[in-house]
């Protein structure tokens, strides 16, 4: 195998998977480098989970090639299973077992890996190790799921929406654990529909929509390429219809103007010069302003720019 190829933890070529009437993955191309934390982003139904489950060897693709750690599921399944750490979306582990018993069970499947107690300590569940799984909080259950993924000391960790449904504190705690794993230099593939999660954790992200990759790069690159640095949003209510959009667009530093349902969104490069001019222009057009917000562009804004939809629309 050429040296360049071996530095890829994952290579997906022309991947296709259709269910009865939905094309879940539509000719996807993707490469994840060894040692990076790669984020697969997109709204629900974008094909993220199908893609990940094909990479995990749980779903057979209709066509295309998938190479994980330089190996293929068709010929190296047993070896691959030992090298991957997998956390699936909404798995419910057996509620009657304790934390320790659960981790020990998963530990018994792997040839290598740390001791059960050590893995439990790594996800900060030492105090809960004798508790039944059914008595854990949502965040603790997700950390237990992470422990079950880490227990075989994996070279490649798959995390499918690890923080969905968790409160902010539990999410942050999980992020810290994932950051900790990143430091060991091994590869992570993370799916999420939280853009802040991707910005926080991922070295590179691919944005997926309708089974295709629509953008790829570091979070910074994507924002720089698709959005100006700053965003200004205001609500004009009923007056939005009379708004002279070309006039707004001609303001120095304004790169793009979108108006929908009375809410207007401007991409702005020079916030400090553009805003005073904007306010003056609105006064001239006699548009009453009920709300005005500015913020730095995020991946969420990238998604809106690319698709014209919000992530949580579906």
């Amino acid at each position: 195998m050429p040296q360049t190829a071996s530095q890829l933890a994952l290579r997906i070529h022309n991947l296709r998977k259709a269910y009865k009437d939905v094309v879940a993955v539509d000719g996807l191309e993707l490469e994840v480098r060894a040692g990076e934390c790669f984020g697969l982003l997109g709204p629900n139904g974008a094909g993220k989970t199908t893609t990940v489950e094909i990479c995990e060897g749980l779903t057979d693709p209709d066509s295309g090639e998938v190479e994980v750690l330089g190996l293929r599921w068709s010929s190296n399944a047993t070896q691959l299973r030992q090298q991957l750490g997998i956390q699936l979306q909404d798995t419910q582990l057996s509620e009657k077992l304790t934390v320790f018993e659960t981790v020990r069970l998963f530990r018994s499947f792997f040839r290598k890996g740390a001791d059960t107690s050590e893995v439990i300590a790594r996800v900060q569940l030492e105090e809960k190790q004798k508790s039944r799984v059914g008595d854990l909080s949502g965040g603790q259950k997700q950390r237990l799921a992470l422990a079950c993924a880490l227990v075989g000391d994996p070279d490649f960790l798959f995390l499918d929406e690890p923080t969905t449904g968790l409160d902010p504190q539990a999410r942050r705690q999980l992020w810290e654990l994932i950051e900790e794993f990143k430091k060991s230099g091994r590869t992570i593939l993370l799916t999420t529909h939280y853009m802040d999660e991707a910005e926080q954790l991922c070295d590179r992200v691919a944005i997926m929509d309708h089974g295709k990759e629509i953008a790829l790069g570091t979070p910074r690159e994507l924002i720089a390429a698709n959005c100006a640095e700053q965003l200004v949003e205001f609500v004009a209510g009923g007056a939005a219809k009379m708004l002279d959009v070309p006039a707004l667009r001609s303001i120095a530093g304004v790169r793009d103007v979108r108006s929908e349902n009375g809410a207007v969104r401007l991409q702005v490069t020079e916030l400090h010069t553009a805003v005073p001019v904007l306010l003056a222009e609105l006064t001239r057009q006699n548009v009453p302003l009920t709300e005005l917000r500015t913020h730095s562009a995020t991946l969420e804004d990238v998604f809106v720019t690319l698709t014209g939809r919000h992530l949580r629309d579906e």
Binding site: Q3, S6, Q7, A9, R33, A34, G35, E36, E56, G57, L58, L69, G70, T78, R81, Q82, L84, I86, L88, D90, T91, Q92, L93, S94, K96, L97, E101, R104, L105, F106, R107, S108, F109, F110, R111, K112, G113, A114, C148, G152, D153, D155, S184, G185, R186, D203
Partner: protein
Amino acid sequence: MSDTSISDVHAVKPAGNVSHGNSFADHPLVQLTLVRFREFIREPEALFWVFVFPLLLAAGLGIAFRNRPAEILQIAAVTPELAQSLRREKLLDVRQLDLPAAEESLRTGKVALIAEPGANGTVEYFYDDTNPEGRAAQLLADRAVQRAAGRVDPVSTRDQMLREPGSRYIDFLIPGLLGMNLMGSAMWSIGFAIVDARRKKLLKRLVASPMPRHFYLLSFLLSRILLLVVEVALLLGFGALLFHVPLRGSLLDLAIVCVLGSLSFCALGLLIASRAKTIEAASGLMNVVMMPMWIASGVFFSSQKFPDVMQPFIKALPLTAVIDALRANILQGANLAQIAPQIGIICFWLVVCFGLALKLFRWR
């Protein structure tokens, strides 16, 4: 971006993390089987249905259908004269009641028969001829009435009483309950656990790990066989101690029948659980499969009571085969050769169901 190639990543890992898997307890099959036990004993309802319920059922039915020494039948007589004649029969408990009260008692089952004087010195008996007690009461009452009127029996007879363990209802019942218990515990424990794990996506999570898949199924069979020892010992011990139910056959043969029977019900449970995605769907299927066998396979009454045309089908049911084999072993002391046809039927179900289940089984 790290320059480390994938093959080098191994070497980067801290040493000392690598050794594992020497100890018996860390074997995946042992861990999986332990999980089965833990899940079972931490479910009080399951403990009750598997261990306590069959004992309660045996005790209740054993007491209700115990062979009472020389059963006394209660009957009603409408006139004092008739009551007088009937009281000479020791096996009858005669109450003198007026006609409406007597009819009420007959309807509510307090008496088995009413004797009433008819026209011209005749006697009329009112009873339900489909009720064995009614027929017995009629024979006894008629004998008493005829003898009181002066009949002399031409042949003198003498009764010899034989009450031998092994031919009472409780003797019939215990093997039946044992068979029913083998079926119920095997099918529920496998079927429910697997469908529940599939519903919770735990099955999917397990196959995403390097767990050898056959160990998962094997852990169910192992735990079942270990629990079987407790289950069988409890029920048979209970029957032997409280009701003196005999154990006439070889215990090894009995164990073989129990294990084979339990495995074939496990296979049936696995087949039912092979595709079902919800508990409701699975329990519906379970009941469809088990209900006919509860009724037809001779748990509570002999399957011979069904019409002859149905007998070949009833004999082919796995529960019928298991219960017939158990009864032959426990009550008649039959050896394996004598119950070979039943063993054959059990093995047939085992192979067919297990083969089908493996073919149809879905992990997700």
